[in-house]
Structure formats: C-alpha cells, structure tokens
C-alpha cells in the first residue's frame, strides 16, 4: 500500500510518503497550487520516490500543439505517471510513442471495473477512483479490475468544474470587488461549498474534508495499492499530523481516532449510495 500526497508546501516537509502528485501549470484544474516543468525537474533531483503529474484540464483545439511538446518534455523527466482527464492524452501518448504511464482521472466517471479494464487494455496503468462510489464498489473494482486503483483517503472533494467564470460574473453583476474565491452555503442543507476560479473556469469543492479512514482496515486487508491524501485547504500542521497517524496505523495498527478530531468525520459516499430514480410522490 502506497501513500501519495498532493502537497501545498515544500516536499521535504513531508515524511513517510511514497510519492507526490504535482498539478502541471497551465494544464491542471481543481488544485490550489501548480508547478512548472522546470520546478518539477528541480523537485525530482532531490526526491527519489514516485512523482505523478496532473494534466486534467479540458483540452481544446488550440492546446493540442503545445500539449504535444509538453508531453515530450515530461517524457524526459521520467516521472511515474500522468493523471489525465481528456482522452487526447491517450491518443497523443500512442502517437508520440511515449513511455510515461497514465492514470485515468475523470473524477466522476471512474466508477466501474469493466471500464477500468477497458482502459487497462489501452495500456492505461492506473485509475484514480471516483469519490462518489461506495467502499463496496471500490473493493469490487480492486478485485475485478487489472488496472492499479487509487483512492482518496483524505481531502476536500471536487464537486464540479465549469468553463464559466462564475465568481467573476457574480461579483460583476452585483458590483462587488472581485475575488478568485467564494464560499457559499446551500440553503436547505446548510452545507458549505468552496468555489475558486482560474483562467480555465470555476471549481467547486465540498465544504467538509473527506475522511475515509474508516475504510483503511478493509483497504489494508486487500493491499489496496494507492491511497491519496490531498492537502489543499487543510492546515499544514494538521495535515502532517494526519499523515503521521495514517502511517502509524498502516505500519503498526495504531489508532486513528485522533484524525476525527482533527478533520471531522465526513465519509462522503463511502457508505451512502446515491439515488437517481425518484419515487413519484417526492
């Protein structure tokens, strides 16, 4: 079982990790900070473990030529893999005969083992499973799929992504000073959502940290390959403490309870199936 983190601080501040996830500048969305290829190259000089780069923005025609060059440059870095959303990357990997492995990373679509196997047959090595499936579904994918799965253990879940600059539009229409971030509250559930905007549009994050440590025993039992901890939005000292406790649990079954005090007990859809056919009287 490997621990990957998406960091927000200097890499040498994190202990006992197996790898890092670095969103690529100009090509990633949904993350707080990103890195240029030069920065990633520098990190790699001093970091011997796994490095994954994220290229998960929607790709438009105008991006294709530069993306080709970027992928060739990434190939020289010899990182462990690239998280991708758009299948243009799969096509380009094939065309350019690139060796860097790919991680299927469509946040709400990595939801079943047969499609995972489809991607595996297309030489995609990994799949970052959706946060909106249950533990039972996660374990079934692990059991029945040949792809190497990854799963979020800790992190604010991404809820949606829009091409529109929704925060800018909102501020403009109400003559408010603009800001890249906005916190909103749903009126009935009183749940909070965090929005932030960049040049590619607006990302929505759920207002509570996803805490899937309840699943850790079962995931350890099946030797689940990769667990991901995303630091974005979490206080750095709290994140380091959570990381420490998770590692202690994996190594020597140390208790996890303190994590609930640190980041709450939101398990998202781990135990909760969504519905989609509403009864007639609802």
């Amino acid at each position: 079982m490997k621990i990957l983190i998406k960091p927000t601080k200097k890499i040498d501040e994190y202990q006992n990790i197996d790898g890092i996830i670095l969103p690529l500048k100009n090509y990633s969305v949904d993350y707080e900070n990103d890195y240029s290829i030069a920065e990633i190259r520098k990190i790699k000089e001093n970091f011997s473990k796994e490095i994954f780069i994220v290229i998960n923005k929607m790709i438009f025609n105008q991006d294709i030529d530069h993306l080709k060059e970027t992928l060739k440059e990434i190939e020289t870095l010899q990182v462990t893999g690239i998280f991708f959303y758009d299948l243009a990357l799969l096509k380009l990997k094939e065309e350019l005969k690139l060796k860097t492995d790919l991680v299927w990373n469509a946040p709400h679509m990595t939801t079943n083992y047969k499609t995972c196997n489809y991607y595996h047959a297309k030489k995609v090595k990994y799949a970052y499973l959706s946060n909106e499936i249950t533990l039972k579904e996660v374990l079934e994918i692990k059991e029945k799929s040949k792809i190497i799965p990854m799963f979020t253990l800790i992190g604010y879940p991404t809820v949606a992504m829009s091409n529109r600059h929704l925060i800018t539009n909102y501020h403009k229409m109400h003559n408010l000073e603009n800001n890249e971030r906005l916190e909103v509250e749903e009126k009935v559930t009183k749940e909070k959502y965090y929005l932030y905007e960049n040049e590619f549009g607006t990302t929505f994050k759920y207002g509570k940290v996803l805490n899937n440590i309840e699943a850790l025993e079962k995931l350890k039992h099946v030797d689940f390959p990769y667990l991901i901890l995303i630091e974005d939005g979490i206080d750095h000292s709290i994140f380091l403490k959570v990381l420490e406790i998770v590692n202690q649990n994996i190594e020597k079954n140390a208790p996890l309870d303190e994590i609930y005090h640190l980041i709450g007990d939101n398990t998202g859809f781990l135990k909760k199936e969504t519905i989609y056919k509403v009864k007639k009287d609802e």
Partner: protein
Amino acid sequence: MNKVELLAPAGDLERLKIDLLYGADAVYVGGQKYGLRANATNFTIEELKEGCRFAHQLGKKVYLTLNIVFHNQDIEKVEEYISEVVETGVDAFIVSDPFIISYIKNNYPQVEVHLSTQNSTTNYKTIEYFKNEGIDRVVLARELSKEEIKEIIDKTAVDTEVFIHGAMCTCFSGRCALSNYVTNRDANRGGCAQVCRFSFKTANKHDFTMATKDLNLARYIPDLIEIGVKSFKVEGRMRSLYYLATVIGSYRKIIDHYYNKNLTEEVLKRQIEILSKVANRETSTQYIDHEADETDQYYTGRQEISNQDYLGQVISYDKEKKLVKIYERNYFKLGDIVELFTPSGKNIEFTVEKLYNEEKEELDVARHPDDIYYIYLDTDIEIEEYSMIRLIKKA
C-alpha cells in the same frame, strides 16, 4: 444533397410522434434504464418497437441514450439490455462510456454509436481517438465556438452533432456531481436535480446563483450548415408537447427555407419570435460566438416563466359544422386572436368568435384545462392530428 438532420428529444411515445410529425428527421429517446433522464417517462421495449416502426415508416430515425456513468451493478446487466434494444430497431445508441462503445461496435456493428455530450468532447484529438474506436458521430460539448467546431469537422471528417436549442448545463457535462452532493441524486446516472439553478447564501447580501440562460442558435443555422455540422440537436426530453411542436416546427421552417434559398430576415425573425414566446427562460447564443460571460446567466434566482400561450390540442375538425374540437390547456376567451398550427407547417390565425363546451352550449371563456371545447373556424386547410392552438393576442 444530404440535408442537415433535425434531431428532437422525445420523453415518451406521444412526444416522439409529435416531434416527427412536426418535422424532426430523428428523435433521441431514453429507455427505462441507463439514460440521463431517469425521471422522464421513458420507453419500454414495446414502446421502443412502436416508436421505431412509426419513425421508420416516415423514413426517419430513433436513437437511444445509453449515456450514464456506469457503476459496477449497472455495467453487469447492460449487455442483455443492449441486446433487447437492438431487436427493437433503434438506429443508434448515444453513449459516453468507452467500454460500452467498444462492446456495441464489436457485437452489433449494424447499429451506429454516437459519442454523447456527456463525454464533453472539446478537441479534434479526442475525436481521432474515438474515431479509431469506431464511433459514427460525436455530439460535441456545448462550450465550443463556431470556429472550434469547424476546425474539428475539417480535421476529423467525423459526423458532428451540435446542440442548437434548449437548457444548458452550468458545468462541463460529466464533470459535475453537484446534484450528488447537495441532494444525493446522482447527476451522472439520470437523477440530476438541477442544483445549478438553486441560489446559495453568501457572506454578503447577494445570493450566489449560476443558472444559465437557454441556448438559441436560430440565427446560426446557416453558418452551422455551411461549416458541415451533420445534426442539430434540440434539448428537452421532459419538455411539453406544445414546446416540442413549436420548437421543432420553427427549426424545420428555418432549415427548409435555407435549403430552398429563401431564408429571408423576415422569415427568420418570425421564427425567432415564435421560439421566444414558447421559451420559459431567456435565451442566449452562449459559446458559439463569444466566451460565455455574465450575460449568459441569471443572478436573481430561478427564473422560469410558465407559458400561458398554449391554449389547446386539436382533437378533430368538423368541416361541415366548421368546429375545431380541442382539449383546453390554458384560459382563453371570445375575441382573443389565436393561431392554429399543424405538423405539416400550416398556420391559421383567427379570432375566437364562437366558443362552445362539450355539450355544445355557447360560452364566453374556456377556463378548465383538459376539458373539451369547440371553437368556430371556417377554413379549407387540412387540419391534421396533433395540431395545436396558441394565443397570439388577448382581446
């Protein structure tokens, strides 16, 4: 010459018939499973058979949506369902999952596969990938400009389908789980609760909203035909019969006038006026001609207007007695100027001079929905089944 296809949404068999009679070349429907409008009536296997029979008799087509994001339990049973559906005679599946695309192409090569907009296809390289997988058509993402669409067509030679009218999502299709988080209804398996139309509290006095205006590309029909778009898609499997008849009828006229080389500004303006009257939201051209901005959204909460213009559905016309028999849908009265419009594109504007109830008693007003009324109308024009009446001007 292969004309562009006008593709209409059909939530049930009645809507399918209305769409095709009012001029659609094809319809897209959902089955009882695996479609993104799980709460529409949708089609049973028997209804699909009947729908395909009806369409094929008219030389038209039926496409079935199979475009959910599959979970394990869904994907285990879908192969049997696909087999049943193929037997009904559908002409294509609309799919977003690449495993399903591959499965259908390998097992049922006689049926087309169209890549769903759920895949949010925004570039030619992705289309090249799916072209190799055997897809027959791509339903493009709605976040594309006319120039981007043209480049895709020029570089891939794949048939493209473009949305031209109807509701827009706020987020990228397939990249939104707002409904899952806010209501526990799975946006990507047909349960979308349209959370993007909710308003949210903020720290200041203005609620945050993100609802989008509807799309209306009536003015861009000639441009889109000329750049090579193969199919124009209208959104709205859950829309009313009146809405569908009006929208499909209007676009039919625009397209036909274009090919007949007589699409004048007057014709276009008239159809745009009809489209605007049946709309329950404001419309915009969204991404086709500009980067979508604040003018393409609403800021004061959900803004939908109930359409009172639809007065009734025609049941029959008695030429001898000169009486149109209708099911009433909205209030109208003597002196109102109304328009009867038919599936074949005829329009008869007249003033309601005499009105009767089902017992043929004279009335001043028709006020009860679903009741039968008779309206006096002297005309030689053939009034077909599924003709409708709308309000033009109140007395």
